[in-house]
C-alpha cells in the first residue's frame, strides 16, 4: 500500500470531519482548527464522461475525461480520468497524478490496488 499516491484532505481537529476543500471552518461543528491530512488515492470508479465541448478555460485541450470516484476512506471526489475501452462502474482506480496545480487528481483503472 505504501506506493499508492496520497491525496491532501483537510480534517477538523475538533470533530475529525474530513473535507477535500481548503476550508477555514468545519461545516460539521463550525470549529476553526483545520489540519491537513493525507489519504490513499485509491478507490472505485462511480462514473465518467468525455467532455467534448469544454469551456473557454479548457478549450485548448480539445476533449478529456472527467470521473467521479469513491475513495477507500469513504469520501467521494471528482477528477480527471484516463478512460479506456471496457471501463465499468465499480472498477478499482488509483490516482496517477495528485500534484496538479488546480488540486485536481487524475485517476486510472488499476485492478491490483
Amino acid at each position: 500500500m505504501s506506493d499508492i499516491p496520497r491525496l491532501k484532505f483537510h480534517a477538523c481537529a475538533a470533530c475529525g470531519a474530513l473535507a477535500n476543500t481548503d476550508i477555514l471552518i468545519c461545516a460539521n461543528c463550525l470549529g476553526s482548527a483545520m489540519q491537513t491530512v493525507e489519504v490513499p488515492a485509491s478507490g472505485t470508479l462511480v462514473s465518467w464522461t468525455t467532455i467534448r465541448k469544454p469551456p473557454l478555460r479548457f478549450k485548448a485541450e480539445g476533449s478529456y475525461h472527467v470521473g467521479v470516484f469513491d475513495l477507500d476512506n469513504g469520501q467521494r471526489i471528482s477528477g480527471r480520468f484516463l478512460a479506456a475501452d471496457g471501463n465499468k462502474p465499480g472498477q478499482r482506480v488509483v490516482a496517477t497524478d495528485t500534484t496538479a496545480a488546480s488540486g485536481i487528481a487524475t485517476f486510472k483503472v488499476e485492478s491490483h490496488v
Binding site: 464522461t49 467532455i51 465541448k53 469544454p54 472527467v66 467521479v68 469520501q75 471526489i77 471528482s78
Partner: protein
C-alpha cells in the same frame, strides 16, 4: 396567509431575438402580463426578476430596476434573483411570498435571458459559473458532463437504454411543434438522435436543450384585485417549495437523483394536500433528456428507475398516465436560463385556462419543477383552478 392568484401572464417566443435587447425582451413579456391583469400599476408592490448570466454574457446587471423603470413602475423594491437555471422559479416563489404575507397586493415576476449572440464556449463558461468552482470546476466538468455521468449510472443501475432516453426527446420535440412559443420543435427519429455528435459521452447533441433568448412574466395578486375573467378562472398557487442541495457532484450520494428535487416535491405535495396521481400535467426541468427521466422519478411521478421505460412506453406523453412537458420542455421550447422557470409557470397557467395550443384535456392541476446548477437550487410549484 393570503391565497396567491394568477392575475396576468405574458411571454415572448423562445428562440433567437438578435435585434432585441435583454431589457426590451423583459419589458415585452412584463407589459403583456400587467395589461392582461388589468391591475393598476400603483397596486404593484414589488418586482422580482429571474436572470442568471446577463453579467457574463451581456455585461448587464441591475436588470430588475431597469425593467421596472421602463414599465413606469417607480420607487418600489426591484430585485434580481439568481439561482442558476432555477432563477425564474425562485423569482416566482418570492413574488408569491410577498402576496401571501400581505406585504404586497400584487407583484410582477419576470424571467429573462439572452444567450444566442454568444459562442458555445462562452455560453459553457457562463453556465459553469453555477458549479462549485473550488471543486468540480477545475476538473473541466461541464453541465452536459454532469448528466453524462448521471446517464452512465442510470444505465448501469436500471438498464436504461439509448432508445429509452431518445423517447423523451422524440416526445418533447413533437410537443414543441405544437407550441408557437417553442424554439425547436421537430419530428425526430431514433436513428437521427443516435447518429448525432457526442457532447459528453454518452450524451449526444439531441440530448441537450438549446440555448435561447426569451422572457416570460406573471402578475400574482390577492383575489380582490383580479379581473372578472381571472376570478372566474380562479388559478391559484397551491404549493410553492424551494430547496437547496450540494453544488458539488461528488457530494451527491446518488448521481442520478437530486436531493433538492426530492425534498421540494415532498414539501409541495404536503402544502397542497395532493399526491402525484392528482397532478394532470408537469412542466419539469429537462435541460438534458436524461434529466427528464431523473426528475420524473425524483418528483415521485414515476417509480424509481422506471423513468426511461415509462418514456419508451408512451406513459409520459399527451395521452399517458402523467403528461410531462406538453410545452416541449427545455429540449424543444428552448432554455433561456433565467426565463425558464417563469416560462414553465406561464405554460401551466395556459393549460389550466384551457387555452394552450397543445392542450391537456381537462387539466385542473399542474406542477412546475425548476432545477439550478448541480441541484444546488430547486423550486416546485403546484397550481390549480378553483372551480
Amino acid at each position: 396567509m393570503n391565497t396567491v392568484y394568477i392575475a396576468g401572464t405574458g411571454s415572448t417566443r423562445f428562440g433567437r431575438h438578435s435585434d432585441t435587447t435583454i431589457e426590451a425582451l423583459a419589458v415585452d413579456a412584463a407589459a403583456r402580463a400587467i395589461v392582461e391583469s388589468g391591475i393598476d400599476r400603483s397596486r404593484i408592490g414589488a418586482v422580482y426578476l429571474g436572470n442568471f448570466v446577463s453579467g457574463p454574457l451581456n455585461g448587464k446587471e441591475v436588470l430588475a430596476g431597469i425593467v421596472a423603470e421602463r414599465l413606469g413602475l417607480h420607487g418600489i423594491p426591484c430585485t434580481k434573483v439568481e439561482g442558476a437555471c432555477a432563477s425564474g422559479g425562485i423569482a416566482f416563489r418570492h413574488a408569491c411570498m410577498a402576496v401571501a404575507s400581505g406585504m404586497c397586493d400584487a407583484v410582477l415576476v419576470v424571467g429573462v435571458e439572452t444567450m444566442m449572440h454568444a459562442s458555445t464556449p462562452e455560453i459553457t463558461s457562463a453556465l459553469n459559473c453555477a458549479m462549485d468552482n473550488e471543486n468540480d470546476g477545475p476538473s473541466g466538468l461541464t453541465f452536459p458532463g454532469v448528466f453524462g455521468l448521471a446517464w452512465r449510472v442510470h444505465a448501469e443501475k436500471y438498464g436504461t437504454t439509448r432508445e429509452d432516453i431518445a423517447a423523451v426527446i422524440i416526445k418533447n420535440k413533437a410537443n414543441g411543434l405544437k407550441n408557437p412559443l417553442a424554439q425547436m420543435g421537430a419530428d425526430l427519429t431514433q436513428q437521427q438522435i443516435a447518429s448525432s455528435v457526442m457532447i459528453a459521452d454518452p450524451l449526444q447533441l439531441f440530448d441537450c436543450c438549446p440555448p435561447s433568448d426569451g422572457a416570460a412574466a406573471v402578475v400574482v395578486s390577492r383575489r380582490e384585485l383580479l379581473t372578472d375573467k381571472a376570478r372566474q378562472q380562479g388559478i391559484r398557487v397551491m404549493a410553492s417549495a424551494q430547496t437547496s442541495g450540494s453544488a458539488r457532484i461528488s457530494h451527491h450520494p446518488d448521481l442520478c437523483s437530486f436531493d433538492a428535487t426530492v425534498l421540494a416535491a415532498q414539501q409541495a405535495y404536503a402544502q397542497s394536500g395532493l399526491q402525484a396521481a392528482d397532478i394532470d400535467l408537469v412542466e419539469l426541468h429537462d435541460c438534458f433528456s436524461i434529466a427528464e427521466i431523473i426528475d420524473s422519478e425524483d418528483l415521485g411521478l414515476v417509480p424509481r428507475g422506471q423513468g426511461g421505460h415509462w418514456a419508451a412506453e408512451g406513459r409520459t406523453g399527451m395521452q399517458g398516465d402523467i403528461v410531462i412537458n406538453p410545452s416541449g420542455g427545455l429540449l424543444a421550447k428552448g432554455h433561456p436560463v433565467g426565463a425558464t422557470g417563469v416560462g414553465q409557470i406561464y405554460e401551466v397557467i395556459q393549460q389550466l385556462r384551457g387555452e394552450h395550443a397543445n392542450q391537456v384535456k381537462g387539466a385542473r392541476t399542474g406542477m412546475t419543477h425548476n432545477l439550478g446548477g448541480v441541484g444546488v437550487a430547486c423550486t416546485v410549484h403546484i397550481l390549480g383552478a378553483d372551480a
